[in-house]
Structures are given as structure tokens and as C-alpha cells.
């Protein structure tokens, strides 16, 4: 009977609470049906787009994963936390100082979420080095 206890705990850990241990189920992006995909016209130029370099993206990924861990279950949250945890309401700025220092600022804007919340001092600014380490976080 004793041998079942670790097994039961292990199975329980593999279910809903996994994100707490740093593991989460990778969710593939939803794909539009073929007829919708066929209607998409790709642009001839991306000149008007926002360009982030590879090092910027690497720093951004580190900060994003720390600020909102990928396993966070937004469906279990209630507003305004649900809004705060959703990337669509978080404006982001990346500032590269040099090859070894990046600042990433997350600034939630909840005016368009639900009735329009104002959450004072929500957000964060991270300092990330070129090795992907978090040097500091400004609350």
C-alpha cells in the first residue's frame, strides 16, 4: 500500500498543479480553417513593422516568462486579475543599452478590459543581461 502513495502524489502533480513546479502543457496555437488562410494576403514589405533583434527577443522572452509564467491559468482568475494576466492588455517596451544590458517594461493598460479598470502601479521593468540573466526588477 505504501508504494502507491508516491505514485498517487506523482500523478496528482502531473495534473492541474504542474505549472507551480515549472511544468505546463504546451498549447499549440489555434489554426484558422483553410478557406480563411487562403484569403490572407501577405505584404510585399515589412518595412512598417516593429523590428526586434534576436538579442532583444531573447531578453524579452526571459522577462515575459518571469512576469507571467507560461503555465498561468487565466481562466481560473477573476477580473481584474484576468485582465492583468492577459498579454493583450500589457504594453511592452524593450530598450537595449548595449550588448549586455536590456530593459524590458511591462505596462498593463486595462482600460479596454471589462468595465475599464485602473490598476495603479501594476507592471514591472526588468534589467536583463546578455546572458539572459535577470539583473534586477523595478516594481
Amino acid at each position: 500500500m505504501k508504494s502507491f502513495i508516491p505514485l498517487t502524489l506523482c500523478c496528482a502533480g502531473l495534473l492541474s498543479g504542474c505549472s507551480y513546479f515549472g511544468y505546463y502543457k504546451y498549447r499549440k496555437a489555434e489554426r484558422a480553417p483553410p478557406q480563411e488562410a487562403a484569403a490572407v494576403k501577405f505584404p510585399d514589405s515589412m518595412e512598417q513593422g516593429v523590428r526586434l533583434t534576436g538579442p532583444m527577443m531573447a531578453a524579452l522572452k526571459v522577462a515575459m516568462d518571469d512576469y507571467r509564467p507560461p503555465g498561468i491559468n487565466t481562466k481560473a482568475l477573476t477580473p481584474p486579475d484576468k485582465c492583468l494576466a492577459s498579454w493583450e492588455y500589457i504594453h511592452t517596451t524593450v530598450l537595449q543599452v548595449d550588448d549586455n544590458l536590456f530593459f524590458v517594461e511591462f505596462s498593463p493598460d486595462l482600460r479596454n478590459c471589462g468595465p475599464g479598470y485602473i490598476m495603479l502601479d501594476a507592471g514591472a521593468t526588468y534589467a536583463i543581461d546578455g546572458k539572459g540573466r535577470i539583473l534586477a526588477r523595478d516594481w
Binding site: 518571469d66 512576469y67 507571467r68 482568475l77 477580473p79 481584474p80 486579475d81 492583468l84 494576466a85 504594453h91 517596451t93 517594461e105 505596462s107 498593463p108 493598460d109 486595462l110 482600460r111 471589462g114 468595465p115 475599464g116 479598470y117 485602473i118 490598476m119 495603479l120 502601479d121 501594476a122 507592471g123 514591472a124 516594481w139
Partner: protein, 189 residues
């Protein structure tokens, strides 16, 4: 409230004839709350201030410490949006007030468009008095001195309370909340 926004009761303090008088008193009251001046381990409090046209005076609402439950948002404060004061049912909710436990400066996010509350200007029909929406911020120094600041959402000017007067010290220059300090002005006198 039914729409999910917060409502607070009032008044906690008042009447005050001038906004500066309210800011002076509210700074002392709000920064004395538990944890409100505990530095990086502290927490924030929010409140509303409102104006009663018949009384021609400002009042401070009771406080709210409702914040985010997310681990990464330890020092937040949801700004209430309505006040329940049966003795001043025609009150105009002019603006919000909050404490900073660890920083005497407005954050960029406090000054960003995300923290703007529309409309940003009111006119008392009877007296013609113009009231601009302000976000007040209070911080208590370790020496015990209370610092009060106001961010006018209409003019985008940041003022510091000094000797009972709100003195403009800078102006927000974009929607991200970047502040340009006026010549010779700073957060401290």
C-alpha cells in the same frame, strides 16, 4: 458596483475648502495605515476625493487596499471609481489618491495613459468653478515627513505640495508617462 468596478464609502475626512488642504490631511491619514510606509515590503492604499457643490468643499473617501492576487504584482492598488456618501449624493468624484510605500516619485505607469480617468475636467454649473481630475500620491519619508504630489490628468502637470501650496514641478510629455521636469524643480524641495 454591478459593473465590477469598486465603490467606497465616504467621507473619511473633510470638509476641506482647498485641494491642498485635503492633500495635507490625506497624506497623514493614508501613509499611517498598516504597511503604507514599509518600503519595498509595504503595500498601497487607494481612495477617492470628491467635491460637494452645496458645501463648496472637498472630502476624502474611505480607503481600499484591494490589489492584484498575482504573485508578480505585490504593490498594486485598484482605484475605486465611485463613492457612496448619503450626505453628499450630488458629489463630484474629482479624482483618486494612493500611497507609495517605497518611492516618493510617481511611477511612469501612474502617469501613463492607462491611469488616465476620463473625463478629466468638470464644471460646477452653479458656481462656474472648474475642477480638473487629479491623481494624488502620498509618501512618508523615514524622517516622518509626508510628501504629497498631484498629477493633473487635464493639463498633465505634476505638482508637489510645498508649504500648503501645489507647486508645478514637471509635465508629462507622452502617453507612456515620461515626465519632463521643469527648470530647477525636483521631487524634493
Amino acid at each position: 458596483m454591478e459593473n465590477g468596478l469598486l465603490q467606497v464609502d465616504g467621507p473619511l475626512a473633510g470638509p476641506f475648502k482647498k485641494l491642498e488642504e485635503l492633500a495635507t490631511n490625506a497624506c497623514g491619514l493614508m501613509t499611517s495605515e498598516p504597511g503604507a510606509s514599509n518600503g519595498v515590503y509595504g503595500s498601497e492604499y487607494c481612495a477617492l476625493y470628491y467635491y460637494s457643490p452645496p458645501d463648496q468643499a472637498f472630502f476624502l473617501s474611505y480607503l481600499s487596499n484591494i490589489k492584484s492576487s498575482l504573485d508578480s504584482e505585490t504593490k498594486t492598488c485598484e482605484l475605486p471609481r465611485a463613492v457612496n456618501d448619503p450626505s453628499h449624493t450630488d458629489a463630484i468624484v474629482v479624482g483618486g489618491a494612493h500611497t507609495h510605500p517605497h518611492n516618493r516619485e510617481f511611477s511612469r505607469r501612474d502617469l501613463s495613459i492607462a491611469a488616465h480617468w476620463s473625463p478629466s475636467r468638470f464644471i460646477d454649473k452653479n458656481t462656474g468653478q472648474v475642477l480638473n481630475r487629479n491623481l494624488l500620491m502620498f509618501f512618508r519619508e523615514r524622517t516622518g515627513e509626508c510628501r504629497a504630489y498631484a498629477y493633473d490628468n487635464f493639463t498633465r502637470i505634476v505638482s508637489a505640495l510645498r508649504d500648503g501650496e501645489l507647486i508645478p514641478i514637471g509635465q508629462v510629455k507622452n502617453d507612456s508617462g515620461d515626465l519632463r521636469m521643469f527648470e530647477g524643480k525636483d521631487w524634493l524641495p
